[in-house]
């Protein structure tokens, strides 16, 4: 990693040049909600003026730039008695500007799952390799709990990360591409004072968290609490709409559909991001459903998020952005569900036998 400091005015010149010449996406305000709060999404940007540098958080994550909501995996062409399969892994290069530390952590987790497993995804790899990621630090929102998940800082997975130190950005440069781009612009090596301002900025961010979720030993608590009534309680609130998985930066489950072209001369295989809260997620041939109840489906979402699957060494894949919690119309959020589960667990403490006498 190389560190540089750039004046915000010069950074604007840099982003203008970058965004003008590349297909780029960054945070933009799309609405003001009924409580007067701005709503942001990652949308196309062509100059630094388009980018809401002071944005809070986007409603949906940046996941769909790497895992599109719907993606064609292959195309089949029928000819006489034979057929051809056509596969296209290529992805056009894009610039993504303004990702938060937790968003980049999410990409690193997706890398673990989709690139380091037994069957790496070439579709994901092409998009990941061809995306230039610029991160931007921020003060946490009242409901952000990424610090609890240790995802409030980031050291890999981006090309460039900008820490706001007042008049300047403190740049962490993590790729030769970013380093070479920046050569054309006026940057300087950090001085002692800049380093102090960076440390101070990080401390302010770290001290500003209002939400905390105790996730220590959570995987084993989830194992023990498999039959907890907590799942039914929260499951009863669930609308089965799948919104949580759609806005989540790490939910990667999908369904695959094959369909004929209308002219019957070919077919396509499509991948569609799916959600474990949807009623037919675990439905198989014959209409049998392995998870017929809301509570079961909700439970498995938490299991996948917080207990993890073998593909990524059983690590938790939740980064603590709370997008699911904000988007859930039924008010289901990881903080309350996990705390509820812990309380349920701890409510039995009075019933266990007393500790052995001390000698």
């Amino acid at each position: 990693m190389i560190y540089k400091v750039i004046a915000k005015s010069e950074f604007k010149r840099f982003t203008d040049a970058l965004l003008r010449d590349n297909t780029s996406f960054g945070p933009r305000q799309v609405d003001t909600d009924s409580r007067g709060k701005a709503v942001y999404q990652f949308l196309p940007v062509t100059s630094s003026d388009d980018v809401a540098f002071n944005y809070t958080v986007t409603a949906s994550s940046a996941k769909h730039f790497f895992l599109p909501f719907r993606e064609e995996l292959s195309r089949f062409v029928f000819q006489d008695q034979e057929w051809d399969q056509q596969i296209n892994y290529e992805a056009d290069p894009i610039v993504l500007i303004g990702l938060r530390a937790c968003d980049i952590s999410a990409l690193n987790i997706l890398d673990d799952v989709l690139l380091k497993g037994h069957f790496p995804s070439p579709y994901y790899l092409a998009k990941r390799k061809n995306t230039f990621v610029i991160g931007l630090d921020h003060l946490p929102l009242p409901d952000c709990f990424c610090k609890s998940m240790s995802h409030h800082t980031i050291s890999t997975g981006f090309n460039l990360f900008c820490s706001d130190i007042g008049e300047d950005y403190y740049l962490s440069i993590n790729s030769s591409k970013a380093f070479n781009f920046l050569k054309e612009f006026d940057t300087r090596d950090p001085l002692d004072d800049d380093n102090c301002r960076l440390v101070e900025r990080r401390k302010i961010i770290s001290d500003s968290f209002l939400s905390e979720v105790d996730v220590t030993a959570l995987p084993s608590i989830l194992d023990i609490e498999f039959d907890s009534p907590v799942w039914e309680k929260w499951g009863n609130k669930c609308l089965n709409c799948g919104t949580c998985a759609m806005v989540c930066p790490t939910c990667y489950c999908y369904s695959v559909e094959e369909s004929f072209a209308t002219n019957l001369k070919g077919a396509t295989r499509q991948k569609k991001l799916y959600s474990c809260n949807l009623v037919d997620f675990a439905e198989v041939a014959g209409g049998h459903n392995f998870r017929p109840k809301n509570g079961d489906r909700l439970k498995y979402r938490y299991y996948h998020q917080h207990r993890g699957f073998a593909e990524n060494a059983n690590q938790q894949i939740c980064v603590g952005c709370n997008r699911c919690g904000r988007a859930c119309l039924a008010g289901i959020n990881p903080k309350d569900v996990i705390n509820d589960l812990r309380m349920e667990k701890e409510s039995c403490l009075t019933n266990i036998s007393s500790s052995p006498d001390r000698i």
């Binding site: 609405d31 949906s60 089965n240 709409c241 919104t243 209308t262 019957l264 119309l329 008010g331």
Partner: protein, 254 residues
């Protein structure tokens, strides 16, 4: 049409309108990009919006509209006798649709208001399945042509015909729309069957549930969220009743 030893027969199809606006049938002639391929799948036996020729040897009957007169009942029963597959086509056919609003008033009052001084025979609106057996339902106001195309391809190739089981919200999120509840509106997206690509909510118009309930909707939780946001329960009732698509759910605590 031949492929690897399989021969696909063209679908012998007829389309009939009852109490409706004929908008769903009109959708069949839309989506020009694939219209020629789509029509290639069909052997149209009776469809007055596309052809003046009429034959009675159809296998598939698309029924648009609801039933609101005795002569419609008899005509529908005759179609049922001929059709191997009878499709309730559009929200009026599937649920009664907007026409069902009529059922809140007395027939006498209605005739006096709409056709003053005329003798008009009418009866309360029924959905198609209230009158004859329905083999397949394709909801929507209007139907989504892309979905109709997919279903027709599946029928022609003998593949499984399904409708999405998830609600509209799921598709709305893929459009990166701001949730209309966040903008202070009641939207039926969380309880309505998807498959429309969230076309209304993408245009910032709340979902009125034209595709009917998604599988296993959670009506108590839905009513609860409307209450928690202090939104109007009257507005909720009006929206739920709009297409008559939530019969059996509509009186739930609201």
């Amino acid at each position: 049409m031949k492929h690897r030893g399989f021969t696909f027969e063209k679908l012998k199809i007829a389309s009939f309108d009852f109490t409706c606006c004929e908008g769903c049938q009109l959708q069949l002639a839309n989506r020009e990009s694939t219209l020629i391929d789509f029509l290639e799948l069909l052997d149209i036996k009776n469809f007055r919006e596309l052809s003046s020729e009429q034959f009675d040897d159809y296998d598939i009957a698309l029924i648009e509209g609801s039933i609101s007169r005795q002569d419609e009942v008899e005509r529908l029963q005759a179609i049922r006798r001929q059709a191997k597959t009878l499709v309730a086509f559009g929200s009026c056919a599937c649920f009664g649709g907007v026409n069902s609003l009529k059922n809140k008033f007395s027939l006498k009052e209605l005739v006096a208001e709409v056709y003053p001084g005329m003798k008009v025979e009418t009866m309360p609106v029924k959905k198609i399945s209230d009158v004859v057996k329905v083999d397949l339902s394709i909801p929507g106001c209007p139907v989504n042509k892309e979905e109709v195309e997919r279903i027709m391809v599946n029928l022609a190739t003998g593949s499984l015909v399904t409708l999405p089981k998830h609600p509209v919200c799921f598709e709305c999120k893929a459009q990166l729309n701001t949730c209309l509840f966040e903008l202070g509106e009641i939207c039926l997206g969380p309880i309505t069957r998807g498959g429309c690509n969230a076309v209304c909510t993408t245009g910032k118009t709340p979902c009125l549930g034209c595709r009917g309930p998604s599988e296993e909707i959670n009506m108590p939780a839905f009513v609860e969220l409307v209450k928690a946001r202090e939104l109007s329960l009257d507005d909720l009732q009006e929206k739920i009743a709009f297409y008559n698509a939530f019969e059996g759910f509509s009186n739930h605590e609201a």
